[in-house]
């Protein structure tokens, strides 16, 4: 086997929450024994988005906000791959917002991890869409991706973790990847990941996170309930985390890649495109034009 590119040590600031997310993702990939060569990490642009450089596997550094269509294209063209898209909250919820909603809607079997630090780390600390009112003069109410993900009817797997609790985060990611492998659809995992340099929220978040799954009577397959619980928890000044929604087995929208390519061996990337292989069918196609 040839010598291949080696992951470089993470270039994040010491203490950055992203280290926790990376550890979680690494553990999840390992736990599921995803082969390195079938692992595709698509990174966004931002501190977070560099993650693929620090991990084993095929890495693709996409454009700011465009990691999702890229990742979907990769998965649709070769559904054998385990595709994980990872980026920041600016990348995903600002410039990438349209693709975020549409990826939930499309429901392709990839996992999307957003490292939410409520700021644009790499450009030095401006407010991101999740920033609180008042952060660096921010006047806009913060965007809650979990609430909005719940509003998209095809969305079947929604979780939020905290990089300060990497074991739970790893658990959500592992289940997300598992959900993908069962070809059930798109999995969205937001991880609260403090930016120690521009928005150090470690202490605050440690106090604020509240696991909804521990709330009496919580039913993660009940979309309306999940929505109202998240709202309630927030009203109490807490941040809802946990496996917030998971569509009941046997329910939910079909995964797009599964519908299009029921047999993973027959995919756009895998099919034989030689002329010999296809000639009779090409001739038929041409003849049909009359």
């Amino acid at each position: 086997m040839p010598e291949v590119v080696k992951p470089i040590p993470a270039t994040w600031c010491p203490g950055c929450g992203d280290f926790g997310v990376m550890a979680a993702l690494k553990n999840s990939l390992k736990a599921l024994s995803v082969p390195t060569e079938e692992t595709v990490i698509v990174g966004g642009i931002g501190c977070s988005g560099g993650i693929h450089n620090f991990l084993d596997g095929y890495g693709f550094h996409s454009l700011h906000g465009r990691l999702l269509p890229t990742a979907l294209g990769a998965k649709l063209a070769n559904p054998k791959l385990t595709v994980v898209a990872v980026g920041g909250d600016g990348d995903g919820y600002a410039i990438g917002m349209g693709h975020f909603i549409h990826s939930l809607k499309k429901n392709v079997d990839i996992t999307y991890i957003v490292m939410n630090n409520e700021t644009y780390g790499l450009t030095k600390g401006q407010p991101s869409p999740t920033a609180k009112v008042g952060f660096h003069g921010n006047l806009e109410g913060p965007f809650d991706a979990v609430l909005t993900a719940l509003s998209v009817s095809s969305a079947g797997y929604i979780a939020r973790g905290f990089s300060g609790a990497p074991r739970e985060a790893a658990q959500y990611i592992t289940e997300a990847l598992q959900y993908n492998r069962e070809r059930r659809g798109f999995a969205f995992v937001e991880i609260l990941s403090p930016c120690v340099t521009y928005n150090d929220t470690y202490q605050l978040w440690r106090q604020q996170v509240e696991n909804v799954e521990k709330i009496e009577g919580y039913d993660k397959s009940d979309r309306a309930k999940a929505f109202s619980t998240v709202l309630q928890v927030k009203e109490r000044g807490k941040i809802p985390v946990g496996q917030i929604f998971r569509v009941a087995d046997g329910k939910g929208a079909p995964a797009l890649d599964k519908t299009l390519l029921p047999m993973v061996e027959r995919s756009p990337a895998a099919t034989d495109i030689s002329l010999e292989h296809n000639l009779p069918k090409y001739q038929k196609l041409l003849a049909s034009l009359g």
């Binding site: 291949v4 450089n53 063209a77 070769n78 549409h102 756009p268 041409l286």
Partner: protein, 606 residues
């Protein structure tokens, strides 16, 4: 002799056609070149009549060129379509019409200007008020409404009437209807056949002389009638393209629609995505994992794809981007003809990266060059652009059946697993003599790699090392030189000895070829350089072409003479011989637009 052309940097606008109307005087011999225009409101079904006529003449062995002028609205507003049929190959609209079918007065107004003195108008009685010696009013829509039950069938009634007035073979004319509506099932076929017959009856009842004139039969065999967009879709499939993502936009949509029908048969996928940003990035993702991928759009969508073009360039992802040009800037005129994206495409996206810009000239050229584009993209690991233009995309034309034996799939340095296994080290961006690095794709063992839009070292890791930067820039940019032998060569048409030349690309192929024919008849021989690769500029071939010339008219559909500019930029020494001939009013050149300035030059230079 050497007349100095007007200041070469100022494009000359093609002369604007003037009105012509005339009294009837029917041709007695069968016409060898006929054009029938159908005009009405959007929704009147003018395209259907044009299409039926095209199919009929096609079946008669004639060469067809159909054209359309519609508005960017679904119903209402003036819309017209024309079908030209010729016993010899034909690639453009006829400068005049022989027959006009008018569903309203606007259609008469627009069409009369173009009607040949011997021509006639078939007018929808009730809707058309205009009178005239050569205007025959028949109750097309009234008959359709009362006897077929739906006024919309007036278009097929008109087709029936025409079949009588032009002496069509009735069985063949009905066969065309069967072929077109047979698949749909339901009553469509029967209603249309009925409407056809009613149309024939109307002519008889009106006591019109039949035929008014006839059309000579042709002898074209094994030819197909196809639009540029269809040819592009076919070329993509046959070239091994298996992934297409796009977003609807006129006049590119039909590439997606055609592929949507074809690709699933070949394990391929077509996706309509939320916008063009998504479309191109999804195609990049698919290409990255090894599928041959393409997207197609028009101006506004192309502009939105700008950032990702550079990503494909820097990351070295093979990708084909089709630009079906329309009138710009901005929303412009969505259904009209132009070729004004060239300089944008050549220089698009911030920073510098290599790309190939190809421009086929007619349907079979589109097919061949699309196959080539997919190969080139993968071989050179580079984004490749195919420039079409509105008329080329939408208009159908007769073209020889495609030659599959010429098709050849070249995957370049895409590694096979056995090859990869033997390598001591795999570096995605390894420096090599030709600048192309062996390529593994996800799923391949031992080919793990980093692909990125950041400047990077050979391994794909971010690097701002100045020396590495210089080498990486050279690695990428050198392809523009190295690939030259691989790129579609120009086609040369006309008289080798001529001292007057045309340079053109895309659908101006048609009017230029026709102008050459017309000029030849007038004793003015010309040569035509049909540029098929626009970037890198085919300098060597152009230099040779220009050698024996006094002047080269660079014919293009834009305001600023973009291709001429590009040539000047690359070959400033060629500037004195270049003369821009441009048209930018949304309409295609017709032969006289080109004949006139050439004749003038010819006269002056004698």
């Amino acid at each position: 002799m050497a007349t100095t052309p007007a200041a070469s940097t100022t494009p000359v606008q093609a002369p604007v056609p003037t009105e012509r109307v005339g009294p009837p005087s029917r041709p007695t011999a069968p016409l060898r070149d006929i054009s029938i225009m159908i005009g009405g409101q959007g929704g009147d079904g003018t395209l259907t009549v044009s299409d039926l006529l095209g199919r009929y003449f096609h079946a008669q062995g004639l060469y067809i060129y159909t054209a359309r002028a519609v508005l960017s609205r679904i119903r209402g507003g003036h819309a017209d379509a024309s079908t030209r049929a010729h016993v010899e190959p034909v690639w453009a609209q006829k400068p005049v019409q022989d027959v006009l079918v008018a569903f309203d007065d606007d259609a008469v107004k627009v069409g009369l200007k173009e009607l040949d003195p011997h021509g006639f108008v078939l007018a929808d009685q009730g809707s058309v008020k205009t009178e005239g010696a050569n205007i025959y009013h028949l109750p097309l829509s009234i008959t359709a409404a009362s006897k077929v039950g739906n006024g919309l069938y007036k278009n097929t009634v008109a087709y029936g009437a025409l079949s009588a007035l032009l002496g069509f073979d009735v069985a063949a004319a009905r066969g065309v209807i069967e072929k077109r509506f047979g698949r749909r099932g339901g009553d469509a076929l029967n209603f249309n056949l009925k409407a056809f017959d009613l149309g024939r009856d109307l002519v008889k009842e009106a006591g019109l002389p039949t035929p008014l004139f006839t059309v000579a039969p042709g002898s074209a065999k094994d030819h197909i009638l196809i639009s540029g967009n269809q040819a592009c879709a076919l070329g993509f499939v046959v070239g091994g393209g298996r992934f297409f993502s796009g977003y609807p936009i006129t006049p590119a949509t039909s590439i997606m629609e055609n592929l949507d029908k074809m690709l699933p048969q070949f394990d391929g996928i077509v996706r309509q995505v939320e916008d063009e940003l998504g479309a191109i990035n999804m195609a990049i993702g698919a290409a990255y994992v090894g599928a041959r991928a393409m997207t197609a759009t028009s101006g506004p969508g192309l502009s939105l794809m700008t950032e990702a073009m550079g990503h494909a360039g820097e990351a070295e992802v093979p990708l084909v981007i089709v630009d079906c040009q329309r009138v710009g800037p901005s929303t412009g005129e969505p259904t009209r003809h132009e070729q004004s994206d060239l300089l944008f495409v050549v220089f698009a996206s911030h920073g510098e990266f290599p790309r190939f810009v190809l421009a086929p000239g007619y349907a079979s050229d589109v097919f061949e060059m699309t196959v080539q584009a997919v190969n080139l993209a993968e071989k050179w690991q580079i984004p490749v652009f195919i420039m079409l233009d509105n008329d080329e995309s939408e208009n159908t034309q007769t073209t020889p059946g495609f030659d599959l034996s010429k098709v050849h799939i070249d995957r370049g340095k895409l590694l096979r697993q056995e090859e990869l296994d033997k390598m001591p080290a795999y570096k995605r961006y390894e420096f090599t003599p030709d600048g192309i690095s062996p390529r593994s794709v996800p799923g391949m063992k031992g080919g793990v790699s980093q692909t990125t839009g950041n400047e990077h070292d050979e391994w794909g890791h971010v690097s701002v090392n100045p020396e590495n930067r210089r080498k990486m820039m050279a690695k990428r940019m050198n392809r523009l030189e190295l690939a030259k032998p691989d790129l579609p060569a120009p086609h040369l048409w006309g008289d080798e000895k001529a001292r007057i030349g045309f340079i053109g690309f895309g659908s101006t192929y048609g009017p230029i070829r026709e102008a050459q024919r017309d000029l030849k008849e007038k004793g003015v021989p010309t040569r035509f350089f049909q540029a098929r690769t626009l970037w890198p500029v085919p300098k060597e071939a152009l230099a040779t072409f220009l050698e024996g010339l006094d002047v080269a008219f660079v014919v293009e559909h834009n305001y600023t003479g973009q291709f001429a500019r590009l040539i000047r930029q690359e070959m400033p020494e060629a500037a004195p011989k270049l003369r821009s001939l441009v048209r930018y009013d949304g309409l295609a050149f017709r032969s006289p637009d080109l004949v006139h300035p050439v004749e003038e030059f010819h006269a002056r230079s004698r």
